[in-house]
Symmetry: C2
Subunit: 194 residues, 2 copies
Amino acid sequence: MKRRLLLVSNSTLHGGGYLQHCQQQIQDFFGKNVKRILFVPYALHDRDAYSKTARDKFKTLGGGNTFRLLKSLYDYKLVTEIRKRVLEDGIPYMGSSAGTNVSTISINTTNDMPIVYPPTFAAIGLVPFNINPHYLDADPNSKHMGETREQRIVQYHEEPDTPCVLGLREGSMLLVEGSKATLLGSTKARLFQR
Amino acid sequence: MKRRLLLVSNSTLHGGGYLQHCQQQIQDFFGKNVKRILFVPYALHDRDAYSKTARDKFKTLGGGNTFRLLKSLYDYKLVTEIRKRVLEDGIPYMGSSAGTNVSTISINTTNDMPIVYPPTFAAIGLVPFNINPHYLDADPNSKHMGETREQRIVQYHEEPDTPCVLGLREGSMLLVEGSKATLLGSTKARLFQR
């Protein structure tokens, strides 16, 4: 399998500029010979503005709302096409946040609000596990009573036949080359197994 | 319309016991003549344990995962039945968190992780708007780069024909009697209009 993926947890890290924390990895990933990049702007509402932003500054690639992004990928029949191009032809894929979610088995472990209804939660399936981007460790001082991220992923694993979930902290990213995955960045990740 | 609803943001408030912050309102809502309560335990995985807990202590009514709860309500064909009993027969309905989400037009504004795929995001529709339970004001000191709650609801309202969203802070609840809704509790709410 030829796949080459760079799956980033988040587009902006606190205190830094857009994609600044992963700039070097992006350069290494695409190399000097890539002349054109297909940018998928579906995760935000104003696609023209989002594309312009990405084109101008090469930033926030693949971020936005995961449900909106996945629904549009299905609406335009791009899910199997992207899978084919990445897995069979070796076209490099880079995603951040929502773009990372849709590259995995399913979007069941997104943090986003379900603002639109996609035809399925099954996603492009470029890796045989799920990712939780922006992974957040529980804050013992928090007074908020919503479930912690860990509790949510544990709830997911109560369901049958659910895959591993990689909790990718902000600042981390996963480089996938064929059957080898390497964790890059400074903040590490947490692997949840059913 | 006979409906009587008590829609609570959260089951536990920081520093208090289960349903302690809304105990008086629950007593007032159900009154002295209610002998039996139908408890819907679908939002958590272990339904027997959850039911026992609720029976023993009358707590965490309707909390848990919104997707799991709504999917089970459809699996058991309870959505239209509950709607009918509440709107036509005046059976009182109380929900907290997930139980509040499923009582509205749709679960598009839940905070929960989409761990299962329901047949639709349309919900029971006991009120003509949506609610965001556990509503959280943005923390200016946070270093986390995920979207704020406000940003998520604004993204929802970028979609066409989306209803109002009531951001119900932890500690707040909505009492609905016929066509009149009253905000109870100490922390207030925030109304988002498209």
